[in-house]
């Protein structure tokens, strides 16, 4: 219990830093309060995006500057704000206080804690809106961001600093892939800090994600920014910018950061709602004219900085939900044109048991091999080719015995490739194990294994190698292309394992 003298001393110390320069402020008067938007007269000196505060303490952001009035979106409860109330400009733009203490926290887009702990303070104020790094400050993406998912790391590799879109219908496993990627980062030598931005989702879903991150001990290097479906549209609009602002703090320290935006479709809906209430002209599908800019300025902040500027990176994994697999709709096409590739999820594949339900044909990573280690590259090229050949031949599968032996062999190889690419949720693999699985199928060692036993074979083979030949796994961890000696060793292990596999 502090004594009164101690309290007085503390107050005196704090007051030494007090400077009251704010004797002049710009104010306005509310004359309309509708649908979460306040229209106020006055505020002639206010800037676009400036924070304003009302008598009851509620804050808002200026989004429209008209001739005789300004429009303000509320960041809190506006039911008590009435006509005639005063509103004061703060002189500040929206920002969030970030420090190392934000790791492991769950916050709202304004930085307020949602996990019952204290607010993050005494950090650096990172602006929510910021111009992306210029061309000169960047360097090409050259370091892999390992997701731990075989299908992605082999055929659609993601690099640190890349923007890779995850797109598909509802319930196809998009969020699962993003969460697996976050979980896999705990295995990385050079840690990747993860920011998961939940936009417009159910609170129960967000709670499940947080619980999963805690169970897998991934929460320690992650931050969750939550703007649920019950939050005002203004918070949903700001949430992704909060996520990238937090990421920029760590990126400036030279660290690698992963930001998942789940999902930008709801973000676009929230922005449409705000724009319509602000009476901005409606365009295609009632979206405002700057809907492209909404996402482009967000995703351009994903960057791989060159060494002179710290060498840090921000990798973005935006998620878009399609309707009936329509990737030619307005928002999906916008975001596809912004990102450096997309991972396309298909409902049919999901329900046929292929999970992750990735359509390898329509998925692409524009960074490609630059984001792969030589280890994975040594097997990925062949596997992708075999899969493409299988997809071409699959239509002939119905003819069965009428096909020649080479075609049948290709079909069987393709089926086994698809089977090996299946992976359970929340079980990302280390790169060396990924290589083992892909090597098994591309080198033909699975051709004599029954299709229904492929996954069991794979799991037991991994355990076998981990137990009996850990040195092989260690040598694969370096990420280098395996030499002939190592391949021979692997061949021996497979022969040995097949004898005991039932």
């Amino acid at each position: 219990m502090k004594t009164s003298e101690q309290i007085i001393n503390d107050l005196e110390k704090k007051l030494k830093n007090f400077t009251d320069s704010k004797t002049v402020s710009n104010i306005g008067t509310v004359y309309k309060n509708t649908d979460g938007v306040i229209t106020a007269s006055g505020l002639t000196n206010v800037k676009m995006g400036e924070i304003v505060s009302f008598n009851n303490g509620t804050e808002g952001v200026v989004l429209n500057l008209d001739e005789d009035s300004v429009s303000i979106i509320l960041l809190g409860d506006g039911t008590e704000i009435k006509e005639g109330d005063k509103v004061k400009a703060s002189g500040k733009l929206l920002s969030i206080n970030v420090s190392e203490n934000i790791l492991g926290r769950i916050i709202d887009p304004l930085g307020n804690p949602l996990d019952g702990k204290n607010k993050v303070e005494n950090g650096k104020n990172m602006p929510l809106e910021r111009i992306a790094a210029g061309v000169i400050e960047r360097e090409p993406v050259n370091t892999p961001l390992k997701t731990g998912i075989k299908a992605i790391d082999s055929m659609i590799p993601i690099g640190r600093g890349q923007r890779e879109l995850i797109i598909g219908d509802r319930g196809t496993g998009k969020t699962a892939v993003a969460i697996d990627t976050i979980i896999n980062q705990k295995n990385e030598q050079k840690k990747v800090i993860c920011v998961y931005v939940a936009i417009g989702q159910k609170k129960s879903t967000i709670a499940q994600v947080i619980e999963r991150l805690k169970e897998t001990k991934s929460i320690g290097y992650s931050i969750v920014v939550s703007a649920s479906a019950s939050d005002p549209a203004s918070l949903l609009y700001l949430a992704p910018y909060t996520g990238v602002a937090i990421a920029e703090y760590f990126m400036e320290e030279g660290k690698d950061v992963l930001v998942v935006y789940d999902d930008l479709t709801k973000h676009a809906w929230a922005y449409r709602q705000i724009s319509l209430v602000l009476r901005r002209p409606a365009g295609r599908e009632a979206y405002p004219g700057d809907i492209f800019y909404l996402h482009s300025r967000l995703l351009e902040r994903a960057v791989k900085m060159n060494k002179e500027n710290g060498g840090g990176s921000i990798t973005a994994l935006p998620i878009i939900e399609t309707q009936a697999n329509d990737i030619s709709a307005y928002i999906p096409t916008n975001v596809i044109s912004i990102t450096d590739g997309q991972i396309f999820f298909l409902t049919d594949l999901f329900y046929s048991g292929q999970r992750p339900a990735i359509d390898a044909g329509n998925s692409v990573s524009r960074v490609g091999g630059a984001a792969q280690t030589p280890l994975i590259k040594s097997v990925a090229g062949k596997m992708r080719l075999e899969l493409a050949q299988y997809n071409n031949l699959a239509a002939f599968a119905q003819f069965g015995s009428e096909l020649d032996e080479a075609t049948l062999k290709q079909l069987e190889r393709g089926k086994r490739t698809i089977e090996i690419l299946k992976q359970s949720q929340y079980q990302p693999l280390l790169e060396n194990l990924e290589f083992m699985s892909l090597w098994l199928v591309t080198s033909g060692h699975l051709d004599d294994i029954d299709l229904s036993q492929i996954q069991t074979f794979e799991k037991e083979y991994h355990k076998f190698i981990e137990k009996k030949y850990p040195k092989i796994l260690d040598s694969l961890t370096k990420g280098q292309k395996p030499d002939e000696k190592l391949i021979l060793q692997l061949e021996k292990t497979v022969s040995e394992f097949k004898k005991i596999f039932k």
């Binding site: 704090k14 007090f18 704010k22 004797t23 002049v24 710009n26 104010i27 007269s41 006055g42």
Partner: protein, 114 residues
């Protein structure tokens, strides 16, 4: 609506509202246009008015005279509010000059509780 704005500007004579002009204008406007016209008049009036709030309107006459000299072309209205504790608060349309003790204490309080 642009015309109504010009009509509102034209409703003044020597920086003061001219009742005759206002009556002539209002008789020619529709209900909706009158609403907009009144809104513009109110806005212009608030731009032309300086609200000065003091703890006691009967003291500090020199200050009031100085303010009237600074804002020669505007209408200075003096209010009283004991809640200010001391000092003066001046509102010039949307610029608020807070030189009162209450604002100072509130600012200190916000700073300490930050």
């Amino acid at each position: 609506m642009k015309n109504i704005k010009q009509l509102a500007l034209a409703s003044y004579t020597d920086n003061k509202l001219d009742n005759k002009k206002i009556l002539r204008i209002v008789n020619k406007l529709s209900r909706k246009e009158i609403k907009f016209y009144l809104k513009k008049i109110k806005l212009l009036e608030s731009k032309n008015t300086i609200m000065v709030t003091l703890v006691d309107r009967n003291t500090d006459k020199k200050i009031i005279n100085d303010i009237r000299k600074i804002f020669k072309n505007k209408n200075v209205v003096i209010n009283e509010d004991k809640a200010l504790l001391a000092g003066i608060r001046i509102l010039d349309f949307d610029n608020l000059y807070e030189y009162d003790l209450k604002s100072k204490i509130e600012n200190i309080s916000k700073f300490l509780t930050k």
